[in-house]
Assembly symmetry: C2
Homo-oligomer: 115 residues x 2
Amino acid sequence: MKELGRQLVVELWECERNTNEPEEIRKALRRAVDRAKATLVDVQVHTFNPHGVSGVAVIAESHISVHTWPELGYVALDVFTCGEKVLPEAAVEVFCELFRPQRTSLLEIKRGIQL
Amino acid sequence: MKELGRQLVVELWECERNTNEPEEIRKALRRAVDRAKATLVDVQVHTFNPHGVSGVAVIAESHISVHTWPELGYVALDVFTCGEKVLPEAAVEVFCELFRPQRTSLLEIKRGIQL
């Protein structure tokens, strides 16, 4: 049994900082791609009124997405990678360093399971 | 108990068409956003060599992502929405119409559960 990709579905709660900082989030997306040893294709970061940031890095190995709710101290992070050379957990660490959540949970989904 | 968002994690197998057609996938992303009654912020579609397409629509309500493996007839689709006015299942239907998968599975994850 072999999967094509791994998706880490991460909940970050009680985040202490940077949840409403689009430039910090953009830099973190780039850093996460580097640290995961993935290949960056495109980064987009958008801010919402009155607060909230969405960022997506498309990578050759799939994507990393982050959506923030600053008013709740909550961030929804997904790291979806394919291939065996990448380190998706390393990308998660970058966002924990950025946001400093006090509570986290992580669900791993194997995508494209081939029997 | 209330969630901030819903994420549909969808596996499409034995897709019969359009898995290597970036313009069709771009149009489908826009159609999916419309049909889900979501608000489009940005669409990015990238092709890979020798085959494969990745597309992401950032929406005001989070994102829709699609990654294709034409050589395997497989597509990994995610529809992540927040708010009660959107219809994420309608976005999934658009991609089923586009790719015509013979087998599908769907996992729903509630994101940002507040007790």
